[in-house]
Amino acid sequence: MKIGVFVCHCGSNIAGTVDVAGVAQAAKNFPEVAFATDLLYSCSEPGQEAIVQAVQEHDLDGVVVAACTPRMHEPTFRRAVERAGLNRYMFEMANIREHCSWVGKDKDANTRKASDLVLQAVEKLRFDRPLQAKSFDINKRVLVVGGGVAGIQAALDCADGGLEVVLLEKTSTIGGKMAKLDKTFPTVDCSSCILGPKMVDVSMHPNITLYAYAELESVEGYVGNFEVSVKKKATYVDWDKCTGCGLCMEKCPSKKAYDAFNEGIAPTRAINIPFPQAIPKRAVIDPTYCRQFIKGKCGVCAKVCPTEAIDYEMQDSFVQEKVGAVITATGYDLFDYRKYGEYGGGRYPDVITSMQYERLLNASGPTGGHIQRPSDGREPKKVVFIQCVGSRDKSVDRPYCSGFCCMYTAKQTILTKDHIPDSQSYVFYMDIRAPGKMYDEFTRRAMEEYGAQYIRGRVSQVYPYKDSLIVRGVDTLLGSQVEIEADLVVLAVGAEASRGASELAEKLRISYDAYGFYMESHPKLRPVETNTAGVYLAGACQGSKDIPASVGQGSAAAAKVLALFSKDQLESDPQVALVSQARCVGCGKCVQTCPFGAIQLAEDRAGNPKAEVIETVCQGCGLCTVTCPQSAIQLQHFTDNQILAEVNALCQQAMEESFES
């Protein structure tokens, strides 16, 4: 075998703390290395060209590139060696940037380490064998989880692109958080005026199947061929019959139900259609408030329903769908404002969240768009906004900036002035984060045109005093404690991962961060992909986002799915398990442990049982290889011999040193 080794400078990223030329020099003495050199930027066009040329000039059989992490550029270099005429799997990478030059300061130690990592890669490469991908058919349907604006956009774009879409929504209507908003920044245009038509498009689109009030129960399979089970939660109303006329809601005698759509700011009925523009516009019974469920008698809705749609006996039901890709657009939830005891949220009725305020501002909200204090219905004149409630705060485990609160708070001060011209808004802020197009101009308008008082500092305590709320904070620019006797306090609550996000991630086998936000494949270059092939992200499930960014990601995820489905077949990753028929004794232990059912027992010609891998089902985890005592089943590209070669490469030297000392 003739191996070529290419050690990358990555500008000064590697060369700054690793003697790159020295590593290349050392590599010349490694087994079967026929050529070694250093390259300034191996991933650049000239860098790749140099590799291709060297392969052809020196008749190389395999290539090692020592550069960044394989999670970044392995595909790039595989394509390069393929261009040079080699099989793309005759290639290994040594990660001497993320695992070496960037984490160690001692250049000598880094250089030794880089050299070890190159030897390790060379030793592994010596056992590499050419692998060929297999093609398999795919199911060109896509599942979109979450019917907020990101999910709506993704569903519409996919459907317009000719794909069949299954859209799943947890609540009884699509629209998500955006449907609750009054106006949107920085244009102050009406939220439902821009979202409403899109919601209607979803309901009218021939390619979209919408399951509202439904959740993802389970996911099996892999890219191109997922099988999902959808749980349709019991609504106790037959939606095929329900016309959304609202008569039931009008007559329902249980009037104290929690109104999630209105953020609990006013009660609703136990049978409920969240808002007039709901899609689908169908009623749902909340059994925790419904008298029929609590007391076992009532039946008013069943009596008044003109289409006899009420069904108190309804059970959850399940439907199976086959899809080839999944877009998760499960959005976010709001920080629990009760966690700051000093602000009294939940104890003092006139301390509310920004989303509750949004419902007070909204003409279709419970107050008809008139701002009224929850405690006494009085119109507030002095409104205090407190920012960063559940953002940038380690003490509540929310150290991140939610990103949109500064903007919506500015919007709310503007709307407050619009609604109540003789009002005064005060905003306590730490920093104003307004880096979008027309964003900073917008916050300046709130201050300059609408007279909002911005106070740089936090609020330490809010408490009721007579008819008002005393807000005590600091103005750090003045270096002084400040107090405001306010009528209403609005807490700009931050975003957190949607409740249940981690459970969904486990079903989809995607990663999430410490706060439950989903991990993208690469923070810059693959922002809507996950590390699980065929699963994509859109919107705030990946991290807090405003509307333009969510819509943009919805479209981006759709584009990714359309690109994936542009071919009729996909190529499977050939790094799968392979059975040595000679060595397999047919004990079946691998069949027992394979998480994917990718191994079955078949008989050889002599009728002996032998394990057999279904290549397109195997995901390449290697669990079987460890399970097999005679090592008869080997994960290609991660064979026992390859890992043993790596272990030996790393330990041999230590062994020799220990004999020396």
């Binding site: 993320e98 160690g104 380490k113 290889t625 043993l644």
Partner: protein, 140 residues
Amino acid sequence: MSAGNGRELRIVGFLCNWCSYGGADTAGVSRLGQPTDLRIIRLPCTGRMDPLFMFKALLSGADGVLVSGCHPRDCHYSEGNFYARRRLELAKRLLPTLGFDSGRFEYTWVSASEGKRWQQVVTAFTEQIHTLGPGPKFSH
């Protein structure tokens, strides 16, 4: 920044591609400094981690072995780390009987986002191995 007396010891890491290898990358991208003793072998999953690789490494002269994968329930392959946990825990418990300090081998879970945790793990484990000193050797 080698821990301890300046002389490096040999630590072999086996990391799953999806979580911990990514976590180590995240640590690198964030320039979170670490001791230089560790060398990482990339596995698709800790389910691929045969405990015999650990024994092999220790018998071949490694002073410490570290395995790291996805947190339980977060395995990219659903179940790989569940099997790994049983196998590795058992192997760890056998070490003292053979005359190896069980602290020479650790397995843990670090997700791709946990660069800081990876730094802590590497630093603490390297310190631990330096405290134990070079592993038992076979030279007579």
